[in-house]
Amino acid sequence: MIRVKVEFLGPYRLETGIAEARCELPQGSTLGDLLMALNERFGAGVRALLLDAAGQVRQTMAVAVDGRVLPPDGTLSYTLQDGQTVLFLSPAMGG
């Protein structure tokens, strides 16, 4: 098993009602697997914020692992390592 820390920012924090969570996943789990685990704990809201109806990462939405923002097409297949921190980010904007 691996353990990862998940931090929720902006809309994800509102959705889940918490700032962070710890997740235990089987070795070799991907970020897509993490999303499914979060789905069970918090409902479909987290997934709906990040992904569109076709299951693709929405434009301007992103996830970072240990501070590195993942490319949209490599997000769900990213293999998580024990001890990593996953950040669910607010959309990229200015203002």
């Binding site: 931090e7 920012l9 902006g10 809309p11 924090r13 509102l14 709906a48 914020l49 990040l50 569109d52 929405r58 434009q59 301007t60 939405m61 992103a62 970072a64 240990d66 501070g67 923002v69 993942l70 490319p71 949209p72 997000t75 950040l87 980010l89 607010s90 959309p91 990229a92 904007m93 200015g94 203002g95």
Partner: protein
């Protein structure tokens, strides 16, 4: 003339208190589209070459509409204002949401050129075909919001208004123009208005705005509106958290400008992010005309020393009055937001200039009879903002903006920590962490603006932020898209749906509104044409490639936090810059080649004959 255009330009001469209507050139809609494009062409034509930007007789102020202004197309309720900037000395365009553009077009004009200088404080009042010059001496000295309330009371009925505050009157180089409660903040265009003794502009129009394909506009409006509502960024995040939603994200990534960019991580960011503001201070949302998003938030502080009501703060304001000067008090930031609106000042430039002063005070370089600002000292802001707007005490120096203030001190330390490009102070997006954006700041015709090259493509992970590879091309294509968007006058918050590059939404919307069957390639050429016009203006005003550089501090690695070690070097910028000039069809020194200008059909605008820039 295609649909979506009024077909005329209003030229108002304040010196002679006279106005005339000119025909919009027939070919402009297809080659320049509107807004930004019209403003660049008009500024080249009407601003005297080499003029002092604050010479009200010789600089001009341009306001322009886009083809979508006054239609149902989502996110089109915005206006552009442009002039030769008192901060940069170059072309500058700034935007504000609200009904001004719609009323200007309904009054029969696609653009307004304000020339000359009034003898006494004046308000320009445009009602359908007519323009009138009204005395405004009793408004002089009053706040930008207060003055608009008063002038609307004089006029009665429904008017779109714009006004400057004391900062514009006193020629503060980063003075803003307030359109209702929304600011065209950047570039000091409020000071240009002040140099003309022009306190306010009011417009009311009653004509129809016609579109080529009404059903097509309706269909596209529904489709785009639904897509915006369905997207989490535009349907949930912006409506609930406003633009400050991103502040804690920037901080967690370690790319939030802090302590005058000495650091990029702020311990108290959690106290001032959109999550906290939404919970404690937002009272309601506001939307610009034709906007289904409603990103703007009305905030209030109900009691205490910072008691106030403000439309905002936006993310850039929270950055500039928060981490940049190490203030973690959300109430102080909301108060500063309202104060800057009323005084009529750009919050980014004000915050960056104050942060610079705080750093110099800490080093002992900035001395004087008054208490200088200090990092973390929110209380000092209460007086200082007013002093800047009225050019009193230390405010006299800071009102010059950070580049000129450093030059006045004449100290190398003062110059090294002045965070600007071409005189425009840095917004809240890290050039150390986003290398494509770093190039965008360097080569931007406005200087350090996040509205030409955008931070979003790299921040969203769509492009590798740490690489210089391909960033020159990315800049060209994103800038072409933003220049086209600014010519259509389409809000940047369409990005989550419309994207970072010119695409089918642009093509379909232009076709439905105007009937012009421009391809995506032709529309991208419009953006390129506009960039070249802006750049040509800058070349005319003395630009050289030496100015396309970043402040030296960004070469120093981020000292701590999640992005520790990230930096962008001068050699990286020079390498990307050379490629950028090449892709733009400019020479090694960055001057546009005559054949490039000819290929874009710009001969009539720039009079290309021989070598440029010689």
């Amino acid at each position: 003339m295609p649909e979506g255009y009024a077909g005329r330009i209003l030229v108002a001469d304040l010196s002679r208190r006279a106005w005339r209507a000119e025909r919009l050139p027939e070919d402009w809609p297809a080659i320049l589209v509107g807004g930004n494009g019209f403003a660049a062409a008009l500024l080249l034509r009407h601003a005297e070459a080499g003029c002092d930007p604050l010479d009200g007789e010789r600089n001009v102020l341009i306001l322009a509409t886009g083809p979508f202004s006054g239609t149902a197309i989502p996110c089109s309720g915005r206006v552009v204002v442009a002039a030769k900037s008192p901060l940069t000395g170059y072309f500058f365009d700034s935007y504000a949401g609200g009904p001004f553009a719609e009323h200007l077009k309904r009054s029969g004009y696609d653009a307004l050129v304000v020339a000359g200088r009034a003898d006494t404080p004046t308000a320009l009042v445009i009602s359908d075909d007519r323009a009138d010059f009204r005395p405004a001496a009793t408004l002089w000295g009053r706040g930008a919001l207060e003055a608009q309330r008063e002038i609307r009371r004089w006029l009665g009925g429904e008017w779109a208004t714009a006004a400057i505050g004391p900062a514009g009157e006193n020629l503060v180089r980063f003075a803003a123009i307030l359109f209702g409660t929304r600011a065209a903040g950047r570039g000091g265009l409020g000071a240009v208005m002040g140099s003309k003794n022009l306190k306010a502009i009011c417009v009311r129009g009653s004509r129809d705005v016609k579109v080529a394909d009404g059903e097509g506009v309706l269909r596209l409006t529904r489709e785009l509106g639904a897509a915006l509502t369905a997207h989490s960024a535009t349907g949930r995040v912006l409506p609930r958290l406003g633009t400050c939603a991103g502040l804690t994200t920037f901080n967690e990534l370690g790319i939030l400008g802090t302590r005058n960019w000495q650091r990029e991580h702020f311990e108290r960011a959690g106290q001032i992010g959109g999550e906290v503001l939404a919970e404690r201070y937002y009272r309601r949302s506001k939307a610009c005309p034709a906007c289904p998003i409603g990103c703007s938030k009305v905030s209030s502080v109900e009691a205490g020393p910072w008691r106030t009501l403000s439309e905002g703060p936006e993310y850039e304001t929270a950055y500039a009055f928060g981490p940049l000067i190490e203030v973690g008090d959300p109430e102080a930031i909301i108060w500063c937001d309202r104060a800057c609106d009323e005084l009529g000042m750009d919050t980014i430039s004000a915050g960056v200039t104050i942060a610079w002063a705080a750093e110099l005070a800490e080093r002992g370089t900035l001395k004087g009879p008054e208490r200088p600002p200090r990092f973390g000292d929110a209380a000092a802001l209460r007086e200082l903002l007013g002093q800047i707007a009225r050019r009193r005490g230390l405010g006299e120096l800071l009102a010059e903006g950070v580049r000129r203030a450093a030059d006045i001190l004449g100290d190398s330390e003062a110059r090294e920590c002045a965070m600007h490009v071409k005189g425009l102070e840095l917004p809240g997006h890290s050039p150390r962490a986003l290398k494509g954006l770093a190039l965008g700041y360097a080569v931007g015709t406005r200087g350090a603006s996040h509205q030409d090259m955008r931070p979003t493509p790299e921040r969203s992970g769509a492009y590798d932020a740490s690489s210089t590879e391909g960033k020159a091309l990315l800049n060209v294509r994103v800038q072409n898209c933003t220049a086209l968007g600014d010519s259509l006058i389409w809000c940047r918050y369409l990005e989550p749906v419309v994207g970072f590059l010119v695409g089918r939404w642009h093509r379909e919307a232009v076709r439905a509104v105007t009937g012009l069957g421009l391809s995506e390639e032709q529309l991208e050429d419009v953006g390129s044409r506009v960039i070249n016009l802006e750049h040509w203006f800058n070349v005319r005003e003395g630009w050289t490639a030496a100015e396309d550089r970043l402040p030296p501090r960004v070469e120093e690695p981020i000292p701590e936090g999640p992005s520790s070690g990230k930096r962008v070097t001068a050699s990286e910028i020079e390498m990307m810059k050379a490629e950028y000039y090449h892709l733009r069809g400019w020479g090694e020194e960055g001057f546009p080649r005559p054949e490039t200008l000819r290929a874009l059909g710009l001969q009539a605008f720039v009079g290309v004959e021989g070598q440029v820039g010689s």
